[in-house]
Amino acid sequence: MLIKRIEIKNFRQFKDEQSVDFCTDPVKNVTVVMGDNGAGKTTLAQAFTWCLYGKVNFKRVELINREVRDSLIGNDKANVIVRIFILYKERNYRITRVQKCYAKSVRGVDEVFSVEERKTNGDWVAYNPTQAYYIVNEMLPESLASFFFFDGEHINQMSKELLERRKSEHFRSAVRGLSGLNATHEAIEHFGNEGRKNSVIGAFARQIDTFGNRRLEILAGQSDEWNEKKEQAEKRLSEIVPEIERFSSDISENNRKLGEMTAAIKSRDLYEKLGNKNVQLRKSMEDIKKSLFKFFSTNFCEYIQALYAFDVDEILQETKKVDEGIPDITAQTLEFLLKRGKCVCGAELTSDEKKKACLQELIMDLPPHSLNIAIGNFKKEMCSVTRHGNQFFDGIIDKIKNIEALRGEIDSNDNQRSMIEDAIADQDEVKEINHKIAIAKQQNQKYTEEKIKCQVALNLAETKLKGIKAEREALLANDERNRKNRIFLLYAERVAQDLKDIYQKKEEEVRSDLEKNINKIFEDIYDGGIHISVDRDYNITTTVNKSEFLQDGSDIDQNTAQSYAIIFAFISGIIELSKKKRNGSKVDGEIEDDVYPLVMDAPLSSFDTRRIRQICEELPKIAEQIVIFIKDTDGDVAEKYLGDRIGSRWKMKAERPTSTRIERRD
């Protein structure tokens, strides 16, 4: 598009109707508008964006000229009008934005926007509001406008975004727009994903779910549940199986070690067996000793008594005093009977002298007068004692022999133990190995049981899933719409993925191209020496190429001029991209439009003479139409370097702070 003319009325300091015609000549494509500070250069630049998009960037939001506003009384009204005449695809358009201002409400709530196309018969035909919006955005998307109409303040803002690594969504979308990626991006967004119900994929996915009957939803839930169980079982199995193998290996290894120790263990067993036996033998020996002492204690007396049996027998044999008596009857018993005068049988004794005499004779044979009974008893006792006592010595000998035998056995066992002592297995080691085996077996058992449970769970889950799948497939197969939607969904997903791939690839290419372009242009303006790289977020990093240029190769400080140069380069790069895109996507028969205007406010004031020359040489190459606002003091410089490219010259003259007039200077 090319801007042929702008008409403004009551727009800020431009009171009444004024206009500027811009050159559209391919060679003399520069229009210079000179004006001192405050004359309204920035306002004029803003008039373009207000007209096209309804946006301004003033601190004071009021658009109407102050003088006009102040003149309004009562129900008076005045219009703020900006109208731009554009040549686009060899057609002429008239774009008008009008703000109606009333005395009471100067901010102008009523705004009218219109786009008209001039037909061949000379009539202007208006587009409806939607078409109007569409055609303007086709000519120059709003997102890109700031690259084509910019003022000093705007350059500062861009500089911050680009060079100070702030969020550069602005540039990202600009690049997308220029490089034709916006459509792809929009398409990707439109396809969306299953989680976004308003996207294509989301809608298809939901349709599948909603078209399916309630049973399908239940099956989907069950499927998720059983899949989760299956995964859990599989995961657990994958953990358990190595554990089982590990413990099995532990058991084998430790059993092998035990096997190697068999002989030593046998020795240990024998050693312990002998030890245990000796404990028992010693106890038996102690018992025999105790019984020996007891035997001695209770029988020693009889033994000694028995030893004298022969001697006393000899003594008793020599006496005659061993007579016959009546057992257990003493002399006192008979004396009692005589005194009583009556026998134990009841016979009277007092009168019978013969009986008395018999008893009295008998008294002499009874104890204490007769010792026969006492001696007889004594002999009987001695007989018994002697029989027992004679066994005493043999008893003692037997017990001592038993003790000796036990002692011998104990000693023999002890000897054997000491002989095998060195060959026995370390009991602790054996114990430890056995302990390890026991633990490993226990763990093995535990994990094996768990493995069985997991396998059962897995089998169950698989069976269930199989059933669910079969049922679901049957249900789905029965539902034609579902089937179709499934296909649609798959297509949509595939297309979305392809778009994403394309987008990613393209964006990478675009960014790379942009970087190349920027560097190329920057090199032309700025002698090179500095490399500009653009990262994924469209942040700009400048690095020094030549080691002599600066001491290090890191990010360098930008002075204002350099920043401006980078911005120029960036804008130029974007314009280049845009051209490339338009050429690349041209439809056969479509009228080509790859020309752009570049409206700049005071771009040269920050540069030294040498740079200005370079910029002035480059700018006309970048854009087909240049509108440049410069201070009066820079006019000569511009004239010097752009002279042969300048098609028209205009002068802004501030009559009052609230009124500026624009005049052709040619």
Binding site: L307, V312, T386
Partner: protein, 178 residues
């Protein structure tokens, strides 16, 4: 006869304590196992041992050594054995050079005659104390272990056997046949 407590004093109390456990209140048991299960087992055999080794000993009076009292209840348990030992000793002992008849009278006739019996009892208890001394010397004094005890028992039994005329079972049967 043998119807009173029997009390030992001085060394005899001590010796007896070492030969057999004593259960007098307040007196700790001797730790090492004693050879005799009870002091009544000692006093039944001690008089004949005293006689065999010809050792009589008078009663000692010592305040340093706790007396060793055998209660009547215990005495009565072995009264028959004590009586048998008394009669044996009276038949065998030569104290006062008694005639054969006098030996028999001492052994059997004076049981109900305290006046006659008293001096005989003294002799019996003198031999009993002597026997305790012998048993202590032979069985306890130099013994430090059960092995020593066993050896001492065997030695004493053999020595006793050698000191008295031995006899066979046949001889015994002959002697005491009905």
């Amino acid at each position: 006869m043998f119807d009173h407590n029997i009390t030992f004093y001085g060394k005899h109390a001590d010796y007896l304590r070492k030969l057999a456990p004593s259960k007098i209140a307040g007196e700790s048991l001797i730790q090492r196992q004693t050879l005799f299960g009870s002091n009544i087992d000692v006093i039944t055999v001690a008089p004949l041992i005293g006689f065999m080794f010809d050792r009589k000993s008078n009663q000692e009076h010592s305040d340093d050594i706790t007396k060793n009292n055998i209660m009547l209840e215990q005495v009565l348990k072995v009264r028959a054995q004590l009586t048998l030992s008394f009669r044996l000793l009276m038949l065998l002992a030569n104290d006062g050079n008694p005639s054969e008849e006098e030996r028999i009278d001492r052994a059997f006739r004076y049981e109900g005659n305290p006046e006659k019996l008293k001096p005989l009892e003294n002799i019996f208890f003198q031999y009993m104390r002597g026997g305790i001394e012998i048993l202590y010397e032979r069985l306890v004094r130099d013994a430090n272990s059960t092995e020593d005890d066993i050896q001492n028992i065997l030695s004493l039994a053999e020595e006793c056997k050698s000191m008295v005329k031995g006899f066979s079972k046949e001889e015994i049967n002959e002697m005491y046949k009905e």
